[in-house]
Amino acid sequence: MLFNSYVFIFVFCPVVFFGFFHIGKYSHALASLWLAAASLFFYGWWDIRYVSLLLGSIVFNYAAGYLIGHRIARTSITVRSGYNTTAGLKSDQPQNELVSQSVSQSVSQSVSQSVSQSVSQSVSQSVSQSKILLAVAIAANLILLGYFKYAHFFADNLNHFAGTALSVGQVILPLGISFFTFTQIAFLVDTYQGKVKEFNFVYYTLFVTYFPHLIAGPVLHHKEMMPQFAKRNVCHINWDNVAVGLSIFVLGLAKKVLIADSLAEFATPIFNAVAAGGQPMLFEAWFGALAYTLQLYFDFSAYSDMAIGISLMFNVRLPMNFNSPYKATNIIDFWRRWHMTLSRFLRDYLYIPLGGSRHGKARRFLNLFITMLLGGLWHGAGWTFIIWGALHGFYLMVNHAWRAFKEKMGWSEGGKLAKLCAGALTFLAVVVGWVFFRADSFSSAMTMLHSMAGLNGMSLPTSWEGKLGQYDWLSFNGVGFAVKEGGEILTLGFAIIWLLPNVWQMFQVYRPTCEDLKESHSLMDSKSLPALREKWLRLFQWQPTKKRAWATGVLFAIAIMGLTRVSEFLYFQF
């Protein structure tokens, strides 16, 4: 089920909403169960067969997490009881760190040899058991993901390069498998590190299946979600949250239906035509690439907005996922603003375990590159995604090297013009990346880039055709005529991303996401805003007034009416 569907808006959401708060009057546990069951129904709407896969994955990971957690807890108790003289242990210190620290350093120095040996043996046995369990559980998750998402890709490549004849058969990619696999791997790793406190199965199921995030994120972290589900007041209707959540949902729906889908009508035929062998000219190629750049942002961020809005109506705050990424002035900044929860996941569960920046500059660059490469593969099973990831890995390396070089030379950040140029360069680099991300193959991406570089001639609007009279000489020189529609939607898109505040900025007073206020303020850097800009932003600050209620209602109606559209025939001549 999609958020932008009649059945979700008119049936599912109202039923689940009223059901949750009604049941919540009597029992918190039952209300949570209702929400978990509704989430499974939401998932099963797409294909009922895959509910068992999702449930299987949940049960398996919960059991693995429980066993790991149990062993880690036992280890901790053993250590505590064996070495109650051990000083300086903090309760929030990760348990396995605590264990290894205890075993390797303090313990051997501060207690008697005989006790130390037996405890040490039992502890290290428990740790290694937990480690094996963790490794097996992560491997099982990755095998599941690998089978459903990457089996075809690997078989095709093996067949191509090694001349084998492997056949995988028809594999349907279960919706959201990347999201529920990653969130659960994070849970397992954190359990192993002793960071998990909450082991309630219903809350765990809810954390994995919670319908607002299940299909397209944000990538949730159990640490910020499970305690929210456990709060007693979560199942009491809170009209502040309902009003803010509803407004954010409406804005998200409008972004998706009115802007992203309109942009797709232009981007899709151009990329499809290129996939079919067409060679666009300069303007068409740029038009397609820019339309897709905007479409992806509006589509994805709209979905996150809708998720945040719906969740808030249920008194659960999701993490922020987009923070005006196209306003970034460098690639590092871009990745702090784009799909923020995935960046966080990749940082915590891939980049840092790989060694992060702890082993010198060269290793740091390698770790960055590997992280982005795998991040690319996570987005899709295809070489174009890997190239996209590699490209961003390369961008990040250049960005870090440039930053270090600037620091060494003692150069400042530069003035407004420098920032503008940096922003434009960053945007251009991102657009080039999206061409690989969207194209069906490497050669199609190269065709697009070739055309964007003007190497395939250029076209003029058809409306000029008559005015220029005989134009055979133009045609001979690689100039043709093509229909240019959609300029308006592209302009609107750019105006929104560059001139308007984002949804979070509009609602920040009401704290719609789970970032704490201090953290969010630093994200927005609102103190450094010039007065005029601040005034401009204040103009868009959401307030629960009657006028705004009607404006939101009208926007809601228009967005709902945008759900059914007529596919019009667009002719791109190349």
């Binding site: 009003a243 009657k546 209620a549 809601f556 109606a557 009416m561 025939f569």
Partner: protein, 416 residues
């Protein structure tokens, strides 16, 4: 305050939706709801012509006509449902620009599911549609158009609201529709396109066929069957076979015809070295119609061939400098006028209209018995045409050479 705000949002949205839906129902830009038609307000429906796929598919499935016309834009603007042959029967022309065989099949399938079996089906065939390497659905094709709930969903659609607004504005300024309520494209749609002169219209169309249609990207191939490695989906001819089988199962009388495009159109096939494939295609059509009839245990549908070189298709084309003369039977080399379409109907229904006579050499009923003789006859007529139309042939050959140089991929049929 927050509760009040939320209630206002939730109440405003349905009110606005009901208001917009009422406007859509009243203006009815696609002839879906049978709303009252008021001149200078909503009587003319220009948006139906701008979105033919939506208008024709939804309407043909709603109206369930007794006589159904399907095919491409040639039939859309050439076969008039108001022809006296159909008299008082309900007729709908659901032929649409670039209608692939899968769409024709979809219409038959959907009508069958909705118990709307037509008594009479007229199917116009286009050779280019049979290319297994040219198969792609038109950009405005939408499977949703076959959905029974489509008209109601469109009542609640912003696209329809925009269409309603445009309809009202166009009615106020006196803009007339180029599509009639029965799905027929009126000759008005050609008025503007022919301002460049008919010879230029012929040339533009022929270049388009040479450049894009005969050897479409990405493979620049034309074949009736797919090579082993390329078999991913059904070929257009398989879709056509299934469409014919459905027509037999509907117990309808289907008349199939290969359209009367102009002789110059056939020359683009010849110069692209596709002539033998063109003949194979005709053989295949006759064979599949007869085979499916045998399966259905009934007599085969009639297959008529109006292609080739005859007194209609050989009509002289005005000179390039002459921009005002208009041909009787053609808009350009591929699209024929209703005057030619009427003769097609006269021939296939053996109707004798008081004001026109069908030339004896126009239209041949094909069977597996006479097809070889018929093909040989066309080949001979072609030779004769080439002897008598040097300028036309030279012009088409020059265009073919220019296209072969321009095209991004190597065209297998045309030497550079």
């Amino acid at each position: 305050m927050m509760k009040k705000y939320s209630i206002q949002v939730i109440s405003a949205a349905p009110l606005i939706i009901v208001l917009f839906a009422s406007i859509n129902w009243f203006v009815d830009p696609y002839w879906f709801y049978g709303s009252p038609e008021i001149s200078r307000l909503n009587k003319s429906k220009p948006l139906a012509g701008e979105n033919p796929r939506l208008f024709e598919i939804v309407n043909v499935l709603r109206r369930k006509p007794e006589v159904l016309i399907i095919g491409t834009s040639r039939e859309d603007s050439g076969i008039d449902p108001k022809n006296e042959i159909f008299r008082e029967r309900s007729v709908f022309n659901a032929a649409i620009s670039s209608q692939p065989f899968v769409e024709s099949k979809g219409i038959l399938e959907s009508l069958s599911k909705r118990n709307g079996n037509p008594k009479q089906i007229i199917l116009g065939l286009l050779f280019e549609n049979a290319n297994a390497y040219g198969y792609s659905l038109p950009a405005d094709y939408s499977i949703e158009n076959f959905d029974q709930s489509r008209p109601y969903k469109l009542l609640l659609s912003l696209s329809t609201l925009k269409a309603s607004a445009k309809t009202v504005v166009k009615n106020i300024i006196g803009h007339s529709t180029t599509t009639a309520g029965d799905g027929f494209r009126t000759p008005d749609q050609w008025t503007e396109q022919l301002l460049i002169g008919q010879h230029k219209a012929f040339k533009d169309n022929e270049r388009h066929y040479l450049l894009d249609n005969h050897f479409p990207l990405p493979k620049c191939k034309n074949a009736l069957l797919l090579e082993q490695d390329d078999i991913l989906s059904k070929t257009p001819m398989q879709e056509l076979r299934e469409a014919i089988a459905i027509a037999y199962s509907m117990k309808s009388d289907m008349r199939i015809f290969i359209g009367p495009s102009h002789a110059r159109q056939w020359e683009t096939i010849q110069v692209s070295r596709l002539w033998s494939q063109f003949e194979d295609w005709k053989r295949m059509v006759v064979q599949m119609v007869e085979a499916e009839a045998k399966k259905a245990n009934t007599k085969p549908f009639e297959v008529w061939d109006f292609s080739g070189y005859n007194s209609i298709t050989n009509e002289a084309v005005p000179a390039l400098t002459d921009k005002t003369s208009r041909m009787r039977y053609y808009y350009e080399s591929s699209h024929y006028t209703p005057a030619a379409g009427d003769l097609v109907l006269d021939r296939i229904f053996n109707y004798h209209a008081p004001d026109r006579t069908v030339p004896a050499d126009f239209g041949v009923l094909l069977t597996s018995q006479n097809i070889e003789a018929h093909l040989a006859h066309i080949r001979a007529a072609r030779e004769q045409y080439r002897q008598t139309h040097h300028d036309d042939i030279a012009e088409i050959e020059a265009m073919a050479r220019e296209v072969a140089r321009t095209k991004h991929c190597q065209i297998t049929g045309i030497p550079k």
